[in-house]
């Protein structure tokens, strides 16, 4: 039992280690820094969005619209390049992400509706907008050299994108564990009613959480568009699921109140290196699917096993049962 609990606490490290070891065995030169850097860059897009989602999930909310915001922000940043220049266009793109997040947040807080359904709807809206303004055709940027520069690796490991991700996730870790607003996020996710009663501005926290998630999705989308010099309405359609998987593998609970930035980092890296390792082996996509699905389920089952059995058998779950993912509907 002890072992299981330990295994679950450090599961991300264990899996990450296992993945690296296995891939080192099967892939020639996998542990070379450049390959690691590749995995990291691969993980950066998922990772940036995962940062926002980690906060939201801890606060008991979810955002399914990240992939669509990703596409929309990228498109805007590319379209505007010709009009206002690359950097301003990029900033506007990120702002689009922020605004999209603000819309999500305002609707969830204002209408007091379940965020799962709401962001399902806004996902549709943002995705439709992306198709609408591009007439469903991909759009092209002005400067391909910039793309090349952005994708360059420094110190053999970091691209600008992956370095940004690492910095942000470390910041997130400090914020979540060491600051009062960070702790309040947990309170809001764990028991919204109690948080409210205690004078915590839960609505504001939830709203800002959505803004953060939108902004980061926007940032990731803008970076992606700069790196590929393209904005496309179909970008990011597979992203949301991967991001949720990464965050959950990292031990953040979908019901709110529990989670950590470092866990998310581990989850993102795990998924990144797993993909690279499997790709190096030329494993067919559907086998990759089966493997990722199995890992996801096994991890969550393990988590269940230790959180229910880790406590003395027979003890019952906490009295406060408000499920925060459902927050909003019956306040």
């Amino acid at each position: 039992m002890r072992l299981l609990v330990l295994a679950s606490q450090y599961r991300v490290l264990i899996i990450l280690g296992l993945t690296l070891v296995v891939s080192a065995l099967v892939v020639p030169g996998d542990l070379a820094p450049s390959t690691l850097g590749l995995g990291l860059d691969r993980a950066a897009t998922i990772g940036l969005i995962a940062i926002g989602l980690t906060v939201l999930l801890i606060a008991g909310q979810i955002d399914l619209s990240g992939g669509a915001v990703f596409a929309l922000a990228g498109i805007v940043s590319v379209i505007l390049q010709r009009e206002i220049g690359i950097l301003p266009a990029a900033i506007v793109g990120i702002l689009v992400g922020a605004v999209a997040g603000a819309i999500n947040g305002a609707l969830v807080v204002g209408l007091k509706v379940n965020s799962l359904v709401l962001t399902l709807a806004t996902m549709l809206i943002f995705r439709s907008l992306a198709h609408w303004i591009t007439n469903s055709q991909p759009v092209t940027g002005t400067d391909i050299l910039l793309s090349l520069a952005l994708a360059k690796t420094y110190l053999e490991i970091f691209t600008i994108r992956s370095a940004l991700f690492i910095v942000l996730i470390v910041l997130l870790h400090v914020w979540l564990t060491r600051t009062i607003p960070g702790r309040n996020v947990f309170a809001v996710g764990s028991n919204p009613a109690a948080a409210k009663e205690s004078g915590i501005a839960s609505d504001r926290i939830v709203f800002l959480g959505f803004v953060l998630a939108g902004t980061l999705a926007g940032l990731a989308g803008v970076l992606q568009s700069l790196v590929t010099n393209t904005g496309s309405p179909v970008f990011g359609s597979e992203l949301t699921v991967a991001v949720i998987a990464a965050v959950v593998v990292g031990g953040t609970r979908l019901e709110g109140g529990r989670g950590s930035a470092l866990g998310t980092l581990g989850g993102v890296l795990t998924i990144g290196s797993l993909t690279i390792a499997m790709e190096f082996q030329s494993i067919p996509a559907y086998v990759q699917q089966v493997v990722s699905g199995l890992i996801l389920i096994l991890l969550v089952v393990l988590d269940r096993a230790v959180t229910t059995k880790g406590r003395a058998p027979g003890t019952r779950p906490a009295l406060v049962r408000d499920n925060p993912i459902t927050q909003g509907e019956n306040v």
């Binding site: 209408l111 198709h131 609408w132 909003g328």
Partner: protein, 332 residues
């Protein structure tokens, strides 16, 4: 309050209790009917092709396949299971197997086996969600991914064609002028409605969604009930997939993608609560009718696909927002 009840209480302390929530209650029930009516009226004015038997039958036929899934998904939402995201996998399973097995064991056994195997996927979901206690979103996402991967590996990505014309004719045919798929959908909806609103299983489903621990402490087999909702959805999707395969006479692994969102959309627009404990099959079907009619009107008006998506998105926001507002007034 009935007169008899008044008599029992005898005392007048009970005039504190009134039935203030009735109006709101009605409004939340009638809201959707009004919305459907509005769409029908608008459609009839805007497009001469709309209010024709042919078009309405088209709408009905188009919604039947997803409608069968909607019936199952209602159970998932009511039992507090959030959503079943493995529907694309179960539909693919139903479609591919019901066609692929035809040459081996004949059309009817193939169909039955396809539905049964889809049910098995549902059982896996159910065990993970109901017995192991995993969040349904994650469990069905994972199981769906695995299922779809296996299906793809099994058929190697190629299209599976039907080989039995009789079954194809049956699935595409009509009975008394009504397409067979529509009849099957209606039958399944009726059964679903009966089970949810009249049978002990339905009461258990509502109780489990309403308060899991209280239901457990009331000797309701909550785990089985929760698992059951996923099995029901998987069986429904299996049937839906099988019918889809038969009508199209071809099936690909990705044949069912998008059906999970359409089904959830319909159920939610129908006002079924995503936190569970509340909802009915007619409501979900009404949600489906509304969405389908609206889409149809837009198509007939030549509205472009992205704009349709945009409108639909706004609509869902409106629907859930209104539902939440009404519910808040109805019962605090």
């Amino acid at each position: 309050m009935t007169d008899a009840a008044m008599e029992i209480s005898g005392v007048n302390r009970n005039d504190r209790f009134t039935r203030g929530s009735r109006l709101v209650d009605m409004l939340s029930k009638a809201g959707l009917a009004l919305a459907i009516l509005a769409v029908v009226l608008y459609g009839s004015f805007a497009s001469p092709a709309f209010f024709t038997a042919g078009n309405l039958l088209n709408v009905l036929t188009s919604m039947s396949i997803v409608g069968i899934v909607v019936v199952g998904m209602t159970f998932v939402l009511v039992v507090g299971g959030l959503a079943d995201l493995s529907v694309p996998a179960t539909i693919a399973c139903g479609a591919i197997l019901s066609l692929g097995l035809q040459p081996l064991i004949g059309p009817v056994p193939a169909f039955a086996l396809a539905v049964a195997l889809a049910g098995l996927i549902g059982l896996l979901n159910g065990v993970l969600v109901g017995y192991v206690g995993i969040n349904p979103i994650i469990a069905t996402l994972g199981v769906g991914t695995i299922g779809l991967g296996i299906v793809q590996a099994a058929v190697g990505g190629v299209i599976v064609y039907g080989s039995n014309t009789a079954s194809a004719e049956f699935a595409k045919g009509r009975l008394l002028g009504i397409p067979v798929v529509v009849l099957i959908f209606l039958a399944i909806a009726l059964i679903g409605h009966f089970v949810l609103s009249r049978s002990f299983w339905g009461r258990w489903t509502l109780a489990t969604g309403g308060n899991y621990s209280a239901a457990e402490a009331s000797a309701v087999p909550v785990k089985a009930v929760k698992a059951g909702a996923f099995v029901i959805t998987a069986l429904a999707s299996g049937i839906s997939g099988g019918l889809l395969g038969l009508t199209l006479q071809s099936a690909r692994p990705l044949i069912g993608s998008g059906y999970e969102f359409s089904a959830i959309t319909a159920v939610v627009v129908g006002g079924v609560s995503i936190i569970g404990g509340f909802g009915s099959v007619p409501r979900a079907v009404a949600g489906l009718v509304f969405v389908q009619l609206l889409t149809n009107v837009m198509v007939l008006q030549g509205v472009r696909t992205p704009v349709q998506g945009f409108v639909l998105g706004i609509l869902i926001v409106g629907a859930v927002g209104m539902d939440a507002a009404l519910r808040k007034r109805g019962v605090a």
